[in-house]
């Protein structure tokens, strides 16, 4: 039976209270949101905070709302909320498709978008989704708020730009016309982490050429976006040959490791194949939006 090492528990009553607690206890404190990454790590003693600051009562951080040409998602929004959001499904099918395969329905009742991004596990599906969508992270501290892009937010496996006395409060996703997206993951069994996954988003110009494209991959040793493969697409008419080339380049760009989920060769193949599939779906969807 594994249980966490002893710690003190404090329940934050407001965002300011949470930040004040983090500031007071410094490096010895960690925020707990859904707890579905942190508590398993604490059971394994991979994390041993002296203080846990529980933000689950901060319902003001649990929302999905449109604000002008952005969709704003509170850090405490649960996976289930994102999966069931009709607005997200219409604007960002990549997120709905990812949420369908994040863990299992019971875990999704608890885990949050903020926890997923802050955990920054290389196999975390929402990290890829947010990178592909060009999301911005709103981070709050006692002295104010800063807004940064995903490339700056993710600093490496399990490492983010969020400092010990800061809290991720919101994710902002730009809404762009003539754009759509898709996500596909291969898992060994339902609820498991990805063997590999890919996400893609495209924006079409009025003449049907690809105005902008984003590609991201999960669990294959490449965080952020696959910019080389994106560059191949931009400015061109989407043809099968072009998409095959983007897939080939993604396959070449990734750096996976052989583990119990699969070999390097298999994961490389998946990265390329899944990239092609999500690009085709994203393009077809973007065209339907135009019509």
């Amino acid at each position: 039976m594994q249980i966490p090492a002893p710690f003190e528990y404090a329940r934050a009553t407001s965002l300011d209270d949470a930040i004040a607690l983090l500031t007071r206890y410094g490096d010895d404190a960690l925020v707990v949101a859904g707890g579905h990454s942190l508590l398993p790590m604490m059971k394994l003693r991979l994390a041993r905070p002296d203080w846990l600051i529980d933000i689950n009562e901060l319902h003001e951080l649990d929302y999905v709302r449109r604000h002008g040409d952005e969709l704003r998602i509170g850090a405490l929004a649960r996976h289930r909320t994102l999966l069931e959001s009709a607005e997200i499904a219409a604007l960002f099918p990549i997120m709905t498709e990812a949420e369908r395969v994040v863990a299992d329905p019971i875990v999704r009742n608890r885990g949050t978008i903020g926890g997923s991004l802050c955990q920054a596990d290389p196999a975390e599906d929402l990290s890829t989704v947010c990178a592909v969508l060009g999301a911005q992270a709103v981070i709050r501290s006692a002295t104010g708020e800063r807004v940064i892009g995903m490339d700056e937010f993710h600093q490496g496996p399990y490492e983010t730009a969020v400092e010990f006395n800061e809290i991720l409060v919101e994710v902002r996703i730009p809404i762009r016309p003539r754009s759509s997206s898709s996500y596909e993951k291969v898992e060994r069994r339902v609820g498991d982490w990805a063997v590999a996954a890919a996400g893609g988003s495209v924006t079409l110009a009025a003449d049907g050429t690809i105005e902008d494209a984003a590609i991201g991959v999960t669990a294959v040793g490449l965080s952020g976006r696959v910019t080389d493969a994106e560059a191949v697409l931009i400015g061109h008419r989407p043809t099968d040959a072009l998409i095959t080339e983007a897939g080939r380049m993604t396959s070449a760009a990734v750096d996976p490791m052989t583990d119990q989920r699969g070999s390097v060769e298999y994961k490389r193949h998946l990265a390329g194949e899944l990239t092609q599939r999500v690009l085709k779906r994203a393009i077809a969807r973007a065209r339907r939006q135009e019509a």
Binding site: I3, R11, H36, K43, L44, D104, P105, N109, G191
Partner: protein, 165 residues
Amino acid sequence: MHVTMSVNGEDVAKDIEPRTLLVHFIRDDLGLTGTHWGCDTSNCGTCVVSLDGTPVKSCTVLAAMADGHAVRTVEGLETAGTLDPIQQGFIEEHGLQCGFCTPGMLITGRELLDRNPHPTELEIREAISGQICRCTGYATIVRAIQWAADHPAGAAAVEQETVQS
């Protein structure tokens, strides 16, 4: 630390260590051993309880997080000596063999029917996909939940059928 919460409609208050997992609080502090504990990796789902009406893996929630909230365990399913239709369904359709996974399956099944009274087979399979059964192969569990959906009156419906036949 001191926690108070409602468990199966009854208020409980206890002094606990902050690191106490909800599953251990339920089993060891409250003596409600219907909720099972089966893994350290949040995978098996036998520990599922309802927290404010939402199924959660109680091995991955701190008892401290449930302070001030309402918990429902498998013991809270029957009312006044009558089994919940979901429990009756597991009897009718042989939804269990060893019974280890059953408490979690019952809670998840109940919550599914509360929000979706007529689920398809696929929706049932999806709902229980975070829970492992090593005995039944799931087919009878799916049928048991389906039975409960078809018989919202539960045990009373069985008696009715017996009388009529």
